[in-house]
Amino acid sequence: MLLPASLRWISSIGFWGLSAGVIYQYTMYCQEVNTFPGGSPLLITIILLPALGALALTFISDENKQLQKVVALNVSLITFLLSLTLWIYFDSSVSDFQFVYHANWLNSANIHLTLGIDGISLFFVILSALLIPICILTGWSSIQIYLREYLIALLMLETCMMAVFCLLDVLLFYIFFESVLIPMFIIIGVWGSRQRKIRAAYQLFLYTLLGSVLMLLAILMIYYQTGTTDLQVLLTTEFSESRQMLYWLAFFASFAVKVPMVPVHLWLPEAHVEAPTAGSVILAGILLKLGTYGFLRFSIPLFPEATLYFTPLVYTMSVVAIIYTSLTTVRQVDLKKIIAYSSVAHMNLVNLGMFSLNAQGVEGSLLLMLGHGLVSPALFLCIGALYDRHKTRLVRYYGGLVHTMPVFAAVFLFFTMGNIGLPGTSNFVGEFLVLAGCYQTNSIVGALATTGMILAAAYALWLYNRVVFGMPKPEYINSFSDLNRRELAMFLPLIICTLWMGIYPEVFLNEMHASVASLIQHGSFR
């Protein structure tokens, strides 16, 4: 980068103007569905773009690290812009899958690549696209070894995650659901911070794999029984009650590990603590949502009777998880573990909302997933910023940060409040709707779940108190650098979205109404 600063600004403005124009033209072109044999190619473009970026990275020479970072960042930003156009062209008045793309994949076995999104998956695609540029930015200066591999892993992860949310074929869903493991395993194992990372990577890998192979068997049984794996066809199929139970449990084994629900949640704190900041952001922001998304997309509409039968099980496990993990959080000394356990509590609240099986509950759970996808990554970014400076994550070494890092203290406070669910932040709306939905179905569960909110305030405030307030500990803290501009730039979109969702959630809810209503009607839950 030898250009003078002014020229660099002009050229980057020109670049973004040009790409915005190209994106606009391309999406306009994609809207003419009739001209394409497989339907609108917009989704497949969005999914493949990061993979192409990863491919391009392999051709950049090893020395040119700056160019590698710039290419990866620009590719992910363009993907994000493209994913926003999905929202622009999304028709919120229908519950059908939109932007459907269909391609032949395994013709002889009748398995096809079908992509499409509805109100449930729309925002997850956008959230994935939003978080990846942030992840690339967090590693901007802290990743020293294998930089190219790091960027490739992140971009491949983006492709896999967005494919999971778009695929309308159960087997292909499984394939991408699992393939997330490969880049995640490598991200934790290679760029993780301590030697314990290997154990964490193994735990992530084996827990998730063990859970999901049972789902594979269930998918294959469904495929054998119906001869298809197309979700839209399967939604019209009715399975016998005993089969539904079996399939539901097999899917549950997989999703419960990913959510995570209490007996199988142990991989999560480990993986979070050992992962690099970007890994934690992805884990908390997207990967935890794969389980709950799976429940909503597959378990609930495909096996409605089994869902009703097993609802008490989910309630019990979720309530236990909420109270247990909230209490566990209080005794942790590792900053990341505290946030990780609070993620477990939040995701189990999501479960409660989903299985309350009414419109408020489901929409609340969707909103809470999104809110948690903004707040929890932001908290992990905060801790990443601390770790980059002081190379420790133990609470007892910190204190009085407000004196040395005032901007950080403000940002951290904002997101701590978001995590508690302060009115005006995104989590409040989600939690409120979830609890409202819960009280309608089962008031005892609702009451028990509400204690989770009190406990959340307890641990979050105590954590904030210990880290930021009090006297500084000069014997431990020696550098006095506040957040820099790059770090602030990462937090800014998250702050804006958190506030936006908290103050005017109707924008998001509006897109979900039709899909959620049809989901509930489909299972004739109400």
């Binding site: 076995a109 499984y174 490598i186 194992g189 193994y202 890998f205 084996l206 063990l210 294959l220």
Partner: protein, 494 residues
């Protein structure tokens, strides 16, 4: 001309085999008569000529005059199934030779007979998949095994190699004896040795009360056990880790890939064509062997540090998966087995290619899995290749290994063999533990030692690149292989 009329056009059918046999004789004469060269590259020269021969054979097979025929008085049969197997066997032999040329020179295996023996054994494998008669089957298996016993002991100055050769010989001969006893029983109780005649005799036998079929059953059991020995399926696998470890790595690569394809193809032909009506009796044997192989493969490899032993256990596990397809006895089962064979072949070729191309600092070939540490920095391309192959071997989507496994499990479920599918997925989780150990050692561990890495020779690089490309391509678009194998499986059943 009188002689030719005896067999009419039969010789047209064995043009490829006769070409190989002829070429082997020529190469033998060439190798013996060429004067001793100071640089000792005779084995490489003969190796390249062998590759040329095998490529020509593939051409002869594909463009040959007959594609569907039974000849030599029902002794051989050529159809699209055998043709497919022959082509992939030859491709794997060519790849293994390409991988091992450099290795042979470095390890000081200078005897050119090595190549001639490989040529002869590939001739026997071609005949094996085409054979249509119990006698022919036994003869071709013996022909192939005999060549292998010699190759296993080809490094005469190494104790391990000699010991491996001996073990392989003793157990291989024992297995052949059991196989032969099985054939004898079958012949004794039916009076037939031809596969088609046997199939005709046994049609509908399952539904009628047959008085004296117990001898036939004993024969089939012995036949199966003999084949299991040759395939290193679990209760009969004891020799495999030792032989794999002791034999030179190039030979191990050869053992692990080529004969398995041939023997499995032949086994499928015998079971699904001839003894199909006795499905109930042999299915349980296969079921047990498959379960045992999957478990032994998964748990046995956990504690291994020697790469070749580990790969031996891994191949035992993969045989277990392949036997799932055979145990189903359905079109889907056969198809999934064929898909798995092709993908297993490409994955193993990549693995052995990488293992053959890495040497420690003092120029020795690597023994322990820990020797791989530091590969990620010394040669990132090779490290990524090995990692992806290991993920694929473990069956992690979206790689090719998953494509082959999911269809196997589907076939098992559709044939109501639930225990196989459940144990299959669970052992694949267990086995993923040792496959990702490779990745852990290469990427996560701090490397104390640096590997000496000399740039790959072109032949090895091409093989690794091609097999890797196939693995990645099949992951993204598996339709071609599924379409091809589906046609084969359907054609086989008609």
């Amino acid at each position: 001309m009188d002689f030719l009329s005896l067999f009419e056009n039969d010789f047209l059918g064995i043009i490829p085999e006769s070409f190989i046999a002829f070429a082997a004789c020529l190469l033998l004469v060439y190798g013996v008569n060429v004067p001793e060269h100071p640089s000792n590259t005779l084995v490489v020269n003969v190796g390249w000529l062998t590759i040329l021969t095998l490529c020509t054979t593939i051409l002869l097979l594909v463009t040959g005059p007959v594609h569907e025929m039974v000849f030599f008085y029902n002794c051989l049969r050529i159809d699209s199934f055998s043709l497919f197997l022959q082509v992939i066997i030859l491709l794997s032999v060519i790849s293994v030779i390409l991988l091992s040329l450099d290795y042979l020179v470095r390890e000081g295996i200078h005897s050119f007979e090595y190549m001639v023996l490989i040529l002869l054994s590939s001739c026997s494998m071609l005949l094996m998949v085409a054979s249509y008669d119990l006698i022919g089957i036994y003869l071709t298996i013996e022909f192939q095994s005999l060549a292998f016993y010699v190759i296993a002991a080809s490094k005469q100055d190494s104790e391990f190699s000699t010991e491996a050769g001996l073990k392989y010989f003793v157990l291989g001969a024992f297995a052949s004896g059991i196989l032969l006893f099985g054939c004898t029983m079958i012949y004794g109780f039916t009076g037939l040795t031809n596969l088609e005649d046997l199939a005709k005799l046994l049609t509908g036998i399952a539904s009628m009360p047959v008085v004296s079929s117990s001898g036939l059953l004993v024969g089939i059991i012995f036949l199966c056990v003999g084949f299991m020995f040759k395939l290193t399926a679990a209760p009969f696998h004891m020799w495999a880790p030792d032989v794999y470890q002791g034999a030179p790595t190039s030979v191990t690569a050869f053992f692990a890939i080529c004969p398995k394809l041939a023997i499995l193809g032949l086994f499928a032909k015998i079971l699904l064509f001839t003894f199909y009506d006795l499905l109930n009796s042999w299915q349980s044997i296969l079921l047990l062997c498959s379960l045992a192989s999957m478990c032994v493969g998964a748990f046995g490899a956990l504690g291994q540090n020697d790469i070749k032993r580990l790969l031996a256990y891994s191949s035992i596990g993969h045989i277990g998966y392949l036997l799932i397809g055979l145990a189903c006895g359905t079109v889907d089962g056969l198809q999934s087995m064929l898909v798995y064979m092709v993908i297993y072949m490409t994955m193993s070729l990549t693995t052995f290619g990488v293992v053959l191309s890495i040497r420690t600092k003092n120029g020795k070939s690597i023994k322990n899995i820990q020797d791989l540490s530091g590969l990620a920095t010394s040669n990132p391309a090779l490290a990524i290749t090995l990692s992806l192959t290991m993920f694929s071997m473990a069956g992690i989507p979206p790689l090719a290994g998953f494509m082959s496994k999911f269809y196997l499990f589907f076939a098992a479920l559709s044939a109501s063999l639930y225990p196989l599918a459940v144990v299959g997925v669970l052992t694949s989780v267990v086995s993923s533990f040792y496959y990702i150990r490779f990745i852990k050692i290469m990427y996560f561990d701090k490397s104390e030692q640096t590997l000496q890495f000399e740039s790959l020779d072109a032949s090895k690089a091409w093989v690794i690149a091609t097999t890797m490309a196939v693995t990645v391509f099949l992951a993204a678009y598996p339709a071609p292989i599924f379409l091809m194998t589906e046609k084969l499986a359907l054609g086989f059943c008609i």
